[in-house]
Every structure is written in C-alpha cells, then in structure tokens.
Subunit: 415 residues, 2 copies
C-alpha cells in the first residue's frame, strides 16, 4: 500500500498543502477504543455534533494538519481517540480572582484553545508557526472545588478529594488544584507550544501547581483501536466504555444542571515499582492481573476481548482467575459502576541507582465519581494483587464543564 | 489517498502482521535531511551497507514495525533520518571497571541494542511485548575520555571537553560522562522500555550521570525531509550535511585508526530564554537569525534553501543580513569547518512563575570536533545576536565508535 512518507520526501516542504474538510471518511471508525469498537464500530456518535470528533487531514495524509473540531455540546478532548501525548496542568488561582475575573480568564483560554486546536496561533502568539501542526490537538478544561467556590457557583457533592484509600501515599505536589488544563496531541512540539501559550494567558490569574506528562504509543505505531500497554508491559484498558455508544453517553455525560453535557475527571498518578516487579516471573505477573501478557486475554480465554470466566477452576480446584486478581476485583456486578478510562504512561528521569521512575497517569471520566468510581476503587483498595507494585502518589477530581458554541466560552454555564 | 488508520480500525489488533523485509522501496529517498535531500535525493549511501538505514515496514503501513538494521560499518543511529524522540544517557563507570569488564559491558549492551532495535526483547527482558514496536529504534554508543582511559586505549586528541566559551554557563549535571547511550525512536513507549533495559544491563558497571529527553515533530506530522522547528519557532538545521552524500562521508566518518568508520559527537544543552525572547518582535527575531520565521528563507531570498546573499544592502546602505546575524556568523569560508547537526527540542516542567523551561539538545557529528566544530563555535561565541537568548548549560564530547558485524560488538576495535 502507499505510505505517506514516500510521497512527502519527494514533494518537499514547500509544496502547498490542501485541507480536505470532508475527508474524514475513514475516521468515524477509527475513534473508538478497545474491543467493542472492533466488534461493532462506533455509531457516528451522539447527535449533538460534538461526540467523537472527526479530524480533517490533508491530501498527502500528513498527520500534522489533522484537526479536531472545538465547538460542541461536550469538550472534544474527552471522547476523541487518545492522542499519543497528553500534558496535564493544574493551576491554583491567585488571591482575589473572583467570578468576574474567572469569566475573563475562561474567555481568554477558550479563545486560545479554539485557535490552537484549529491550527492557528493564540491571539498573543509570538510563534504562530508552531501552531500549524495541531495533530489532533485538544485542550480540555476542568474546574476544582476552589474554582467553583470563587465563582460562587453551586458545586456538585462529588467535587471534592476522593476518600482516603489504604494504598494511597499522596503528595501535595501531584494532587488537587483549582483549574485543570489538559493539552493532548499526537505531536510533542505542538504540546510544548500550546502549553506555554496557555500558561502565558493564565499567569495573571493563576500559578502552576503541577504538570504531568503522559504518553502512549505514537500514532500509527500500532493498529488504531488497539489497547495501550503500560510500562509493566500489560495491556491496559481492555474493558472500557466506548465513545459514541449509549453506555458512554449515559455513564459519562452529566444529564442536567449547569454541568449538563460535562463530566467529571478523576486523575491519579500511580507509581509503578519496576524494580520489585522485576522479581516477579511472567506467571506471577499474569496471575496478579488475571490476563496473559502476550495478548491480554483473560487466563480463561484466548483473545484479549474474550469474556473472563470467573467460575473456571484449574486441575487442583483453585480458580483460574485468582480471587485477588486485578480483573476480578475491578469488576462490579452493578453495571452503573463503570467509567471511561483514558490513561497515559509517564516515565521521568530516574535518580541515582534507579533504572526507572515510571507509572501511569490514571484517568477516569464519569457523570458521578462517587457513585461510579469510588466503589470500584474501594474494592481494589481492599484487595488487589497489583497493589504490591503500584502506589497512588497523586489524586485530584475536577468537574469538566460542557463544551460551548462559537461566541461562548467554557464554563459560561457556571459563572 | 488511503491512510493507515482507516485500515487498522477495521482489522483490529489481533490480525496477523506480515513484515515485508524488502518493502523499503520509497524509503531510500525519505532518509535524507534538509534541502539537498529534496534537490538531489540521497544516493543509496556508501557501499558498506550501513549508511542511511532503510527500515522495513509491515503491509498495513504501521510504523511500529519499522526496523533500522543494526549491523554495519557505522552505528546506524548517526545517519538515520532523525526519529521523533531521542533520549541521551550519560553514565559514569564504577571504580574498578577495567578493559576486561568494559568488553563484557559492551558485549552485553551490543546484544541488547541489536535485539531491541530489531523488535525483540533484550536477553533478560521481562517485558518483551514492549519491544515489539521498534518504530525505527536506534541505540548508539559513545565513549568519553574516562572510558578510553580505563580501556587503556589510545584516545584521539579531540576527545576532551571543548574549550571554554564566554557564553557558557555549564553545569556538571548536564556535562561530560564516560559512556553515552542514545536511544531514539518514533515511539515514546519503545524508548521508555529500551532505556530501562539498557540501564538494567549497565548497572553493575556504571551509574547514570544525566539523561536528556528530546523531541521533534511526530513522524508523519510534516513532510519528511522538512527542517525541524525549535521552540523559538525557528527552522533549525537548514544548512546541514546530508547523509549519503560524499561530503557527509568525508566530513563525518573517521577515515582511519581504531575509530575508522566512527565519528565524534558534541552534545550541548542550550537553554532558550522564552521569557525575554517574548519581548522581541518578529522583525527583531528575524534579524537576529537572518531568516524569516514563516518559511526560514534568508532575508535576501524567498525560499528556505535559497543561498543567502551576504553582500546585499538595504535602501539605507546597511546589510540586509546583519553583521551579527546568526547565519552570517555561523558560516565559514573554510568548507572543512562543517558538521552534521541532529538536534532535538527539550521542554521540562517549568518552575513556579515560569511558563517554560525549554531549549535545544544541540548535537553535531564530525570526524574531528576541534578542527570542524570549535572554530565555528568560537566565532559564534564572539558575536551572534542569538546569544542574548540562549545559554549553553551542558556540554560533552564523545567518540562514537564504528558499527560492528554480527558476532562482534561496539567498541571491539578499542579494547
């Protein structure tokens, strides 16, 4: 088959590039995640025009010009097929920033986000050339409890730190925050530029509290729709809600109130102890999760998306999927206890004597984290073999407000 | 045109993937860098079989399985078209590591590098699944003066820290080192896994001194062969040697002695002060370099690769390209004072009140850095408008030994 690189090298950098606004034919099927997406390609999403986004691309198939629409009922960065890179910024508001100032801040940031995601420089952009390759850039905003308090807005009961879990070793430097900005793109240069542009716009209003840098496989490395692997080598996210399905719409989007069309984000930084994980043979690794490493199939099945048989017993009468295996403990009989995961790996420079400082930026989206996520996490907190090698070191909950129309701004339903 | 994603989403992750060993048809032209590559596509490189590498790819056009051959007269990571991500590790040898131990270390690391770059786990790999998407992974080794001393090997006169430059503000934490390992791939997951695997193999022999993480545009974001942009927004690397040309072979590869087929690497970490750069209007930015920001064309031309006219004067009689402009100062009348640049951007989490902590991992490859690179750097040190916004904060020089054949190991000509 033909291949973008072959063309580009001959045409050179200065040839004109044409955007095909309607060239999204194959993209509808490419947005969905995991098994369900392959078994039954996602519908063209909900009818609001802001479900799974359909990026445009140019005639040469270059990824740089792929654009995710900004305006819509939902913020586009929630349901778009996860980009290769994602940077999460949490900001703390300066003293004295009130509802009026918040309105100005969010108008400014919305303008920046709309322009940057569509491949144009922000209004005050000094390097607009670095905005020319959005590569499916999305910029998503989330509000912490402190921000809604400043705004004088009613805050949902779930917008608060999660209950303490026994496995937690949370650090303030990776937790909480007033304003979350997620900057996600397939291109790391685009993320560096957009992140700086947004911080420049926000700096009269807020100070950075933390940044987390996540990555998945590069776009095009692996079949689109395949489940990501974390740095333990496990497939991570096999059982997941699928954007564009009814389940996703029911369980992820908030149905009414000022946050209608929005959702909530739980973001937890989970350190993975690669050193002690190394002491565990492959059999032990597979037992701890309940899936094979090679394909991600449950230990009772042969393919990744086979339904696990939790009743199956081995020759000695023990369950094939152990009582304390992660996939057994993570499964709830209550189908309302589901959420959408969209995690990223992190890998920071190891310190002296270390060979890695790695982990997972674990994120879930759901209409109500207390009802949907917390019970599952409590069950895992009580018992989960994986807990031996994983430690949550950061945690935060944000309300993700709905999207907006042209002329509006993110958060306008709240201030 | 068809597009990989469209296929993959429908086929799903479990379909079989076939490697096309000889499917490199279009790749020969795609490896070359910069203008010359487009004007005159690179020859199939030198005749050693180890010039610009020709990755294989699978039938679906997935990038993950693209493999750069490991064995050859040169280490493959020097001339391969720069991957999207590159991590540089510098290690310091433990006390007591002698020539014999160095031989063992390099046999081990060579085995790891060969296996990982070809998409197989290292021998002691616990997560071989993370090695399955090499995405043009190359692993390149360099030796500092301390290593050659331990080996009792003759050290070239140029293998020493560069002379001090007035603009330098070097920090030990980003400078020097005994052993350099560069891990470069289009996929960040691959880099995380390979880096950890190599550090595990090396840790009985050496301790990490520094790590630098660099990135360029994602593969496929922009036309292959186009010049990268740095985080100032400038095209960076327009005038460069082109792998596969005679100039490159003459100026980059060492011709004789135990390092024949090798080269040298100068790696400098250059902080870019985005804050003060922001105070400079576009005209000032263009004057400081001597090129336009939009296209990278010299101020006397219209296209990036137009030859600058250093004699041209404006209406008031002043030169169009200022006397202190970067491109004028960087140009030498002595054509032997050229080298191959293969730089990467870096962007670390900014501190409180900062909006970026960004810069360039500036690298040059040349047969003799003292003869080829130092005179140019001295001229820039004396006068270069860009010096106002850039500060070298790390510097190191390494000998890059030649490649090896199957059964051999990197460094075998030295120990």
């Amino acid at each position: 088959m033909s291949y973008p690189a072959d063309h580009d090298a001959r045409r050179g950098p200065s040839r004109r590039r044409f955007l095909l606004g309607g060239a999204a034919a194959g993209w509808g099927a490419a947005i969905a995640l995991g098994a369900d997406a392959i078994a039954s390609p996602a519908k063209p999403a909900d009818t609001t025009g802001s479900g799974p986004a359909e990026p445009t691309q140019d005639t040469a198939g270059l990824r740089g010009s792929a654009v995710v629409p900004f305006y819509g009922a939902h913020q586009a960065g929630v349901s778009v097929s996860p980009q290769a890179h994602s940077t999460y910024l949490a900001l703390d508001l300066h003293e004295g920033v009130d509802a009026e100032a918040l309105g100005r801040l969010m108008r400014l940031l919305t303008s920046d986000a709309e322009r940057l995601t569509q491949g144009r420089g922000a209004l005050a952009d000094m390097e607009p050339e670095l905005a020319q390759n959005p590569s499916r850039l999305t910029i998503t905003f989330g509000f912490g409890p402190g921000l809604l308090e400043r705004a004088g807005a009613a805050s949902p009961a779930w917008l608060a730190p999660l209950p303490a879990f026994g496995i937690d070793a949370l650090r303030a430097e990776w937790s909480d925050g007033d304003l979350l900005i997620e900057v996600a793109s397939d291109d790391p240069v685009t993320i560096a530029h957009a992140t700086r542009s947004l911080l420049k716009s926000a700096r009269s209003f807020a100070t950075q509290r933390w940044q987390q840098h996540g990555f998945r496989h590069a776009y095009g490395s692996r079949p689109q729709g395949s489940t990501m692997r974390n740095l333990f080598g496990q497939v991570d996210g096999t059982v997941n809600l699928v954007p564009g399905t009814e389940d996703f719409a029911d369980l992820v989007w908030i149905a009414d109130g000022p946050l209608a069309g929005g959702t909530s984000l739980v973001i937890r930084r989970i350190a993975m102890d690669m050193e002690t994980w190394d002491d565990l043979a492959r059999e032990g690794r597979e037992e701890s999760v309940g899936r094979t490493l090679e394909t991600g199939a449950p230990l009772t099945g042969v393919a990744e998306h086979d339904e696990p048989d939790f009743e199956a017993v081995g020759p000695l009468g023990f369950p094939v999927i152990a009582a304390e295996a992660h996939i057994r403990r993570a499964r709830s009989a209550d189908t309302s206890q589901r959420f959408y995961r969209r995690g990223y790996n992190y890998d920071e420079t190891p310190g002296p004597g270390e060979t890695s400082r790695s982990g997972l930026i674990f994120t879930t989206y759901q209409a109500d984290p207390v009802a949907q996520f917390v019970p599952v996490q409590q069950r895992l907190d009580e018992l989960d073999l994986l807990n031996q090698w994983t430690t949550p070191i950061g945690s935060a909950v944000f309300a993700i407000p709905p999207g907006c129309r042209e002329g509006g701004y993110i958060g306008e339903t709240l201030f």
